[in-house]
């Protein structure tokens, strides 16, 4: 515990700006992953324990694409599309076989995929840590905001994630497809009876979730190191985000991802060793006081 340091930080604008941006980075990346988890759970009632694997593979695909083409935009695109495709294959080949069976069977299948792809990554890219480094386009002097140093890439990352959040939110509430998805979340059998191809819908939802996680991995690659097993901590955190925000709620995922990002950003100064513990306490409190989460509908 170092509350003095936290107090000192909160009163200097440069420290506030730096910690807020790092909190926003954490929060936005978490949101991209958690949005997929919450979307898949909302529509398919499947807790995708393999979601961290999408994030990890997204990071590695971006790493290799950048190495091959020197274009970061292409790398991000490749990671997103590859993981969307992977999501469809994963849903069709494995998850569709355990719809309706108990949650442990689903956990087992997902965890098997996690284990397999952690090793596949080791075989293809090696067990060591990889650093992608800042893409050439972003190797420019940092921005100075109120005395705090903000690398331009951070601003771009936050911007992209915010854009996705808006598109996703508006898309789900305004478009016909979004309405179908929300209807399927309430009662997928009825939606199917009304003539919507739910098999296709489920595959698309999985593709969206996978694509978002792949995008998050690609965006995270320049600021974090790549290693087999990197998906795991992200997975746990995105579960916390979905539980706190409410299973199935995109707005909830955004808000709670940002809250966790901020706790991360400032917690590392105030209580460096117990930041995680703090987040778990919040999660327990939410589950007890409001089990459906902040923005979830009570069933």
């Amino acid at each position: 515990m170092d509350l003095d340091a936290l107090g000192a930080c909160l009163t200097t604008s440069s420290c506030v700006v730096t910690q807020t941006t790092s909190g926003l980075i954490v929060g936005m990346l978490l949101f991209l992953v958690a949005a997929g988890v919450t979307l898949i759970f909302g529509v398919l009632k499947i807790v995708n324990f393999a979601h961290g694997t999408f994030y990890m593979l997204g990071g590695y695909v971006a790493y290799s694409t950048l190495g091959a083409t020197d274009s970061y935009a292409l790398a991000v695109l490749a990671a997103t599309l590859a993981m969307a495709l992977f999501g469809i294959v994963f849903e069709r080949a494995l998850i569709s076989r355990v719809y309706g069976s108990n949650v442990l069977m689903q956990l087992l299948v997902c965890y098997a995929v996690v284990l397999i792809f952690d090793d596949v990554v080791k075989i293809v890219w090696g067990p060591e840590f990889h650093a992608m480094g800042m893409p050439p386009a972003f190797q420019v002097p940092p921005l100075f905001i109120a005395g705090g140093v903000v690398p331009p890439f951070y601003a771009v990352l936050i911007g992209i994630a915010a854009l996705i959040a808006i598109v996703l939110g508006l898309g789900l509430s305004m478009t016909r497809f979004g309405k179908t998805v929300r209807a399927a979340a309430v009662n997928s059998q009825m939606v199917s009876a009304l003539g919507v191809n739910t098999t296709l819908l489920f595959a698309i939802v999985f593709a969206m979730g996978g694509g978002l996680a792949g995008l998050a991995g690609a965006l995270a690659a320049p600021v974090r190191s790549l290693s087999p097993g990197m998906g795991f901590s992200v997975l746990i955190e995105s579960f916390i985000v979905t539980v706190i925000g409410g299973m199935g709620s995109i707005v909830g995922a955004l808000v709670s991802a940002l809250v966790i990002g901020m706790v991360r950003g400032f917690g590392t100064i105030g209580f460096p060793k117990f930041t995680d513990g703090l987040i778990y306490i919040v999660m327990i409190a939410i589950l007890l006081l409001r089990p459906q989460g902040l923005f979830g509908r009570s069933s």
Partner: protein
């Protein structure tokens, strides 16, 4: 009539114990003894989890916290006090049971999915307490310095053979106790809750109380498994209380079969054996384990013992 199954089980247990204890006399193999010691800890851990998962229908994702707590409580008691080994073990189990009672009191009223998540959250909370409370637990380095060696009943647990015998006896007695609990009227009540909690409630069973008892008992036996683990590694490590360890127990339960009492033991044996064999040939243990799990989950769709009972239903005796 009523006593016969208990007698039959006691006889089977005695025979199993004699066979296990006799093996080192015939063929002394450190690797095998090592395996049995680890299996003892893991079998207690997984079987206690199955009291929740298979018997009561409570899917706990955080059972590893009690395994880890048992190990830490035991190792710390041994290091900080002069208590004899059995007393330290009993104290460790009591501490774990108390912790399970407290955590359970908060968790057991939540419905399935939320119960799974809140147990996971508690486990991660305890894990981060272990990591951050460095002065007591040694943080992420684990509790080192070894356990003081104290002889009990002529056993010296520093010797592998004695630890082997001790673990086997403890595990078999622990499993027997769990077997009795699950076959008792209380165990029947738990299965009734699993199958239809509304009806059970209508019959006058206080659901949360029965669940809390099950959670506490399961925690206590996981703590006993943790004590064996602490003896094996001569200390305690945060990994014992970490998420993947709970995952191991869940796999053991699922691989062996949730509806057979010995399922988790078989599952634990498969997991440990797979680990020992595969790591000898390849470093890609996860790949092999993942494929095996997929084969079970999508092929058999149930654990080994459950599958055997499904494929060859036992005729009426």
């Amino acid at each position: 009539m009523k006593h016969r199954p208990a007698l039959r089980e006691a006889v089977i247990t005695a025979i199993a114990l004699i066979v296990v204890l006799a093996i080192p006399l015939v063929h002394h193999s450190p690797a095998f003894e090592d395996f049995i010691i680890r299996l003892s800890a893991m079998a207690l851990f997984a079987t206690s989890l199955n009291l929740l998962v298979g018997n009561t229908g409570m899917v706990s994702f955080g059972h590893g916290m009690f395994y880890g707590l048992g190990a830490y409580a035991f190792a710390l008691t041994m290091q900080l006090t002069e208590l004899s080994l059995p007393l330290a073990a009993v104290l460790a189990i009591a501490i774990t049971a108390l912790a399970a009672l407290c955590v359970g009191a908060i968790c057991v009223r939540l419905s399935t999915d939320y119960f799974a998540f809140i147990t996971l959250a508690f486990q991660m909370l305890i894990y981060s307490v272990i990591i951050s409370w460095q002065s007591l637990t040694g943080g992420d380095q684990g509790l080192r310095g070894g356990l003081p060696r104290r002889e009990i009943f002529g056993f010296e647990l520093g010797s592998q053979l004695h630890l082997y015998q001790f673990s086997a006896v403890v595990a078999v007695l622990g499993l027997l106790a769990l077997r009795h609990i699950s076959a008792s009227p209380f165990g029947q009540t738990l299965r009734m809750i699993r199958d239809n909690e509304n009806r059970t409630g209508f019959l006058g069973v206080v659901l949360w109380r029965a669940r809390l008892w099950a959670f506490t008992i399961a925690g206590a036996f996981a703590g006993l498994g943790g004590v064996l683990a602490a003896l094996f590694v001569s200390g305690a490590y945060p990994e014992l209380a970490d998420w993947p360890n709970s995952g191991q127990a869940i796999f053991a339960v699922m691989l062996g079969g949730i509806n057979s009492f010995l399922g988790p033991v078989v599952g634990a044996a498969i997991l440990l054996a797979l680990n020992d064999v595969v790591t000898r040939f390849t470093e890609y243990y996860g790949l092999v384990l993942g494929v095996v799990i997929l084969a079970f989950a999508l092929g058999l769709r149930r654990g080994v013992l459950d599958f055997l009972r499904f494929a060859w239903p036992r005729g009426s005796k």
